[in-house]
C-alpha cells in the first residue's frame, strides 16, 4: 500500500495520468479545500477592496480587519431558515443549486496548477472545461423557473441568454489560442490544458504576446466574455438588484443561496484559470524569454517567499497602527499572530526544496488573483449594461472580432510555417 | 456471467436499441410536442451510440465523424422544431400534438 502511495512521488505525470487513485483523492481534497478557502478570502477581499475604493472601511468587527468575517457569514447562512415558496416546483428548486455548484467545481479536474499539479490531464481538457462550465446555465434556468415567480424567471432568461451568447465569442477566442499551440515542428496542436502551457514554454512566449496584437485581442475578447459568462459587473444583469431584486436566486435563502454564491465565485476562479492557462503562461514565471538563465530562475524562486513576507510586514504595520485600547487588545494580538503565521509561511517558502515544488502553484495563483482583483475593480467602477446593449456587444462586436482574429491568426500561422520553416 | 462481464460491441448495441425503443415509444404515445421532440433526441442519441460503438469496433474514426454530423443535425432539428412549436402555440394555444389536425378537415 505504502509502495503504491510512494510510487507516484517519483513520476512526472499528473496523478490521474499515472493512475494513482490515492493521490487523485489527495489532490481532489486539496483543490476543493483550497477553492473553498479561496472563495472565502475572495468575499473578504471583495468587501475590503470595494470599501476602500468607496472611502469606507468595510468589515472591521469580526476579527482583525474583518478577517474572520467570511466564517461568520457562512455560519449565518448555514443557520438561516431555508425557505421554499409554496408554489415552487420543489424537486427542481432543490436540485438547481447543486447543478450549478457541480458545474463550477467539476471544471477544476483539468485545471493545471503546475506541470504535475492537476487532478488529471485530459486530451480534450479545454473542451471539457468549456462544456462543463456551460452546464451551469441549466441550473440557473431551472432555479429561475422553479421559483415560480416573475423576477427569478426574467433573471434566469436573461442570464441564460447572456451566457449562451457570450460562449460563442469565448469559444472563438479560445480556438485562436489553441491554433497557436500547433506552431511547432510537427504542426500538431493540443487541447490539453497542460499541453497548452507546455507549448507556451516551448515557444518561449506567452500567447498574449504572440503575433502581436492578435494574441492580445483574443485575450481581450476572452476577458470581456468571461466577465459576462460569470454574470459579474458590468454584465450582472441577471442579478441587477435595482431591476430584478436578485435575479434567478431571489427566492433562495440560507444554505441554498450560499451554494449559488459559492458557485459564482468558483466559476470566476475557473474562467480566470482558463484565461491564465491559455494566454498568461499558466504556471510559468513572468518573462520566460527575456530574463532566462539559472540566475533569474533562482531569483524568481525567491519571489513567493518575499510576497508572503511582505504580507506579514503589512500585518505588523497594521498591528502597530491598531488603536491602543483594551477593547482592541484581542484584535491586535490576532493580527500579530496572523502576521507571524504569514511570515513563517514566507520563510518556509525560501527553503529551496519547498520553493521548487510550490512556485508553479504560486505563479498560477498569483495570476488568477490578479484577475480576481480586476473583477472587483470592474464592480467598483462601471455602471451596468442594459440587456439589449449587452447582446449587441456580444453578437455585433465580440463575435466579428473573434472571427477576424481567428482568421488572421490562422493566416499568419500558415504564412510563418510556409515561409520561415518550409 | 462471463459474457456479462466482458463488454463487447454487442452490449453497446443493445443499450442503443433500448434507448431507441424508448424514444420510439415516446414519439408514438406522448401528446406534448416538447416531450415528443425530446424523444426524437433520444432516438438520435441511440443512433450516435451505435455509430461510436461501431467506430470502436473497427478502429476507425468514421463513426465518430458521423456522430458529430448527427449532433449537428440534432441541433438544427431542435431549433426548427421548437420554432414550429412556438408558432403553433401562438396560433392554437396548445402544445398537444393530436390537436395539430388542420390538414384533417
Amino acid at each position: 500500500m505504502l509502495e503504491y502511495v510512494k510510487s507516484y512521488l517519483t513520476s512526472s505525470q499528473t496523478p490521474g495520468a499515472a493512475g494513482n487513485m490515492f493521490w487523485v483523492l489527495v489532490y481532489i481534497l486539496l483543490i476543493f479545500t483550497g477553492l473553498a478557502i479561496a472563495v472565502m478570502l475572495m468575499t473578504w477581499l471583495e468587501r475590503k477592496v470595494l470599501a476602500h475604493m468607496q472611502v469606507r472601511l468595510g468589515p472591521m468587527r469580526v476579527g482583525p480587519h474583518g478577517l474572520l468575517q467570511p466564517i461568520a457569514d457562512s455560519l449565518k447562512l448555514l443557520l438561516k431558515e431555508d425557505i421554499m415558496p409554496a408554489e415552487a416546483d420543489s424537486f427542481i428548486f432543490w436540485i438547481a443549486p447543486f447543478i450549478v455548484v457541480l458545474a463550477a467545481f467539476t471544471v477544476f479536474v483539468v485545471v493545471p496548477f503546475g506541470p504535475t499539479h492537476a487532478i488529471t490531464d485530459m486530451n480534450i481538457g479545454i473542451l471539457f472545461m468549456l462544456g462543463v462550465s456551460s452546464l451551469s446555465v441549466l441550473g440557473i434556468v431551472m432555479a429561475g423557473w422553479a421559483s415560480n415567480s416573475h423576477y427569478p424567471l426574467i433573471g434566469a432568461l436573461r442570464s441564460s441568454a447572456q451566457m449562451v451568447s457570450y460562449e460563442v465569442a469565448m469559444g472563438l477566442a479560445v480556438v485562436s489560442a489553441i491554433l497557436m499551440t500547433s506552431l511547432n515542428a510537427e504542426g500538431t496542436g493540443t487541447l490539453s490544458m497542460i499541453g497548452i502551457v507546455q507549448a507556451q514554454q516551448a515557444q518561449g512566449e506567452w500567447f498574449i504576446f504572440k503575433f502581436f496584437p492578435l494574441g492580445l485581442i483574443a485575450f481581450f475578447i476572452f476577458a470581456v466574455a468571461m466577465v459576462a459568462e460569470t454574470n459579474r459587473a458590468p454584465f450582472d444583469l441577471a442579478e441587477a438588484e435595482s431591476e430584478l431584486t436578485a435575479g434567478f436566486h431571489t427566492e433562495y435563502s440560507g444554505f441554498r443561496w450560499s451554494l449559488f454564491f459559492l458557485s459564482e465565485y468558483t466559476a470566476m476562479i475557473a474562467v480566470s484559470s482558463i484565461a491564465v492557462t491559455l494566454w498568461l503562461g499558466g504556471w510559468l514565471r513572468p518573462f520566460p524569454n527575456l530574463l532566462n538563465g539559472a540566475i533569474w530562475d533562482k531569483a524568481f524562486s525567491f519571489l513567493p517567499g518575499i510576497a508572503f513576507l511582505f504580507l506579514a510586514a503589512m500585518c505588523f504595520y497594521n498591528t502597530v497602527r491598531m488603536p491602543k485600547h483594551p477593547l482592541f487588545r484581542v484584535q491586535t494580538i490576532g493580527l500579530a499572530v496572523f502576521g507571524v503565521f504569514l511570515g513563517l509561511v514566507g520563510l518556509v517558502l525560501f527553503v529551496p526544496a519547498v520553493s521548487i515544488r510550490v512556485q508553479d502553484i504560486f505563479w498560477f495563483a498569483a495570476k488568477v488573483a490578479g484577475f480576481m482583483y480586476l473583477y472587483i475593480w470592474y464592480r467598483g467602477t462601471f455602471p451596468r449594461y442594459r440587456f439589449d446593449q449587452l447582446m449587441q456587444m456580444g453578437w455585433k462586436v465580440l463575435l466579428p472580432m473573434g472571427l477576424g482574429v481567428l482568421i488572421l491568426t490562422a493566416s499568419v500561422a500558415l504564412l510563418q510555417q510556409k515561409l520561415w520553416h518550409p | 456471467m462471463e459474457s456479462m462481464l466482458h463488454i463487447t460491441t454487442l452490449h453497446y448495441l443493445v443499450l442503443g436499441a433500448a434507448l431507441f425503443l424508448l424514444g420510439v415509444i415516446g414519439v408514438l404515445t406522448r401528446r406534448n410536442v416538447v416531450i415528443v421532440l425530446m424523444s426524437i433526441e433520444l432516438i438520435l442519441n441511440a443512433v450516435n451510440l451505435n455509430l461510436v460503438a461501431f467506430s470502436r469496433m473497427w478502429g476507425g474514426l468514421h463513426g465518430q465523424v458521423f456522430a458529430i454530423f448527427v449532433i449537428t443535425d440534432a441541433a438544427a432539428e431542435a431549433a426548427v422544431g421548437l420554432g414550429i412549436l412556438i408558432a403553433f402555440f401562438r396560433n392554437k394555444e396548445t402544445v398537444n400534438i393530436d390537436e395539430v389536425n388542420l390538414l384533417k378537415w
Partner: protein
Amino acid sequence: MTDPHTLSHLDLETPEKPFLDANELVINMGPQHPATHGVLRVILRLDGEKVLGLECVIGYLHRGVEKIGEHRTYTMFNPYVDRMDYVAAVSNGLGYCETVEKLLNVEAPPRAQYVRVILTELNRIASHQLWLGTHALDIGAITPLFYTFRDREEILKIYEKYCGARLTTHAFRIGGLQYETYAGFEKDVKNFLDFFRPKIDEYEELLTTNRIWLERTKNVGKISGEDCIALGVTGPVLRASGVKWDLRKAQPYANYKNFDFDIPTGQNGDTYDRYLVRMVEMRQSVRIIEQAVSALPEGPIIAKVPKVMKPAVGEVYHSIEAPKGELGYFIVSDGSTQPYRVRVRPPSFVNLQALDLMCRGQLVADVIAVIGTLDIVLGEVDR
C-alpha cells in the same frame, strides 16, 4: 379618474394577438423595491422587456400635510413643510416663509436674504448629490454613491452647526431667520466651496465620459420641451429639454437678482442631458454661494412680524425654484391665526406624471434610469 389599482384606463397599444403568455407580463415594481426611491409602486406592462405602459400608484407615504396646515398656526406649520421633500428641507422652508411673508406683506432684511440664499443653494447641492448617488446606483455604478454622501456630509455639518438639525432643518422663520450665523460660518462655507469644486470633477470623471454610462443614459427617457410644458414638468427635467425656464431668473424671489449665474439647458431632453444639467447646476450653485458669502451684509436678521400672525383675508400663490423644480405654495387666509387652506404644488408629484410618457417603448432597465433621473422624493409626492 378611474380606480387606480387597475390598468383599465391605460390606452395601451396591445398587439392584436398576444405573442406568448409568458411574454405579456404585468410586473409590480414596488412599493418595496430597491429602485423606486421609497414607496413608489409602479405597475409595468411589458412585452418581453419592452414597456407598453406603466402606472404609478402613490399615497403610501401620505400624511395629510396640507390638511394639517389648516389646524396649525402659520408659525406652527413651518416645520411640517420640511417633512415633504426631506432631501431639500431648506428649500421647502424658504418657499413657505416667503409665501407667508407675501401674505403678511413683510420683507426679510438683507442679511437674512443672503443667508437664505447661501443655505438654499447649499441645499440644492446636497439634493443633487443625493440624486447623483442614487441615480448612479440604480444604473449599477455603486461607487459614486459613497463619494457624494461623503461630500454631502460637509453640507450637513454646516447645517448642524447653524441650527442643530441635519436633515429637517427648520432653518428659516417667517420674516427672516431665527438664529444669527455662528462664528466662522463664512469660513466654513468658503472652505466647503474650495473642498467641493474638485469633487464635481471627480464625479464627472467617473461618469461623464464613461462608455457604459453614455450608452445607458443617451436617448433614454426622452421628452420634448412641449410635452414638458403640457405636463407641467419643471426643474432640471424641463431645462434639459431645451426650455430655458428657471424661477430664479424668470420670477426672481429672495434676492437672486443680485447674483450672476447661468441657467444650463440641454438639447435632447434625455437622461444624459438631465445628468449634465444637474452637474452644471451644482457648479452654478457654487458660484452663487461664493458671491453671497463675499457680499454678506451686516444688519438685523428678522423683520418686524407680529407674535400672533393674523394675515388679512386673501389668497396668495408663491413659487420658488426648488432643486427638483417649481415648488409652489397656495395659501388662503380667512383672517384668523390659521390658514383656511394650504395647497402645495410639489415638483416631484407633477414631474412623476411624465414617467409614463418617458418610459413607453423603452426597456425595463430604462424605467429604473428614468425614475432615477426624475429625481422624485416620495415624501413630497404623497405629502
